[in-house]
């Protein structure tokens, strides 16, 4: 696992959702916090796509239901980049 990349993914996550990094862990779940609703989820997806120059499939966009899965799915697309 690439720690630096995971930290980068977390920084983007927190920037978009307006959260402190200390408030986010792998169990932080979509719709369980006020800041992470459907519109913000799309902003997050767009930010990752722009930052890493990639495009997610719909199944993966839906699959990002907690922060652990966000990291896993973004890393899957990045592969060995």
């Amino acid at each position: 696992m690439n720690i630096d990349r995971d930290e980068e993914i977390k920084k983007i996550f927190c920037d978009v959702l307006g959260l402190n990094e200390s408030d986010v862990n792998d169990k932080t779940t979509y719709n369980s916090i006020e800041e992470w609703d459907s519109l913000r989820h799309l902003e997050l997806i767009t930010k990752y796509e722009e930052f890493y120059s990639l495009e997610f499939d719909m199944d993966d966009i839906i699959g990002m239901e907690n922060f652990a899965k966000v990291k896993s799915i973004v890393n899957k697309y990045l592969g060995n980049k």
Binding site: L42, E43, I45, T46, M58, I62
Partner: protein, 126 residues
Amino acid sequence: MFKGLENFGVGVDIESIDRFKNYIKPFEERLLNKIFTKTELNYCFSTDNPASHLAVRFAAKEAIFKALNSIKKSMIEYNNIEILNDEAGVPIVNFIIKDLRDYSVKLSLSHSENNAIAFVIIGVEK
């Protein structure tokens, strides 16, 4: 459950109009294109208040997802759903993908100064 209701789904959603005031082209073009079709964007940005028109269309798409989910239909891309107005100004839904073209949709939209709301009923013949 009344016989036949299993073929109907309902959904409702409310959105803050203020949140859409940030989505000014071209800075958020990628996000806008992920949610809306070109026809929708052309319409919304031709009005005096694009944010309220964007918000109510987003609410409609969210309500449609909820209605589809209630009849166990999986989610599709936002921009595969198009919210249009007929000649009388009544909102109608155009599904871009063939998979949903057998579904009938009734849609009602409204907004106040700050919020936009959508209510949807979806029916499918089985």
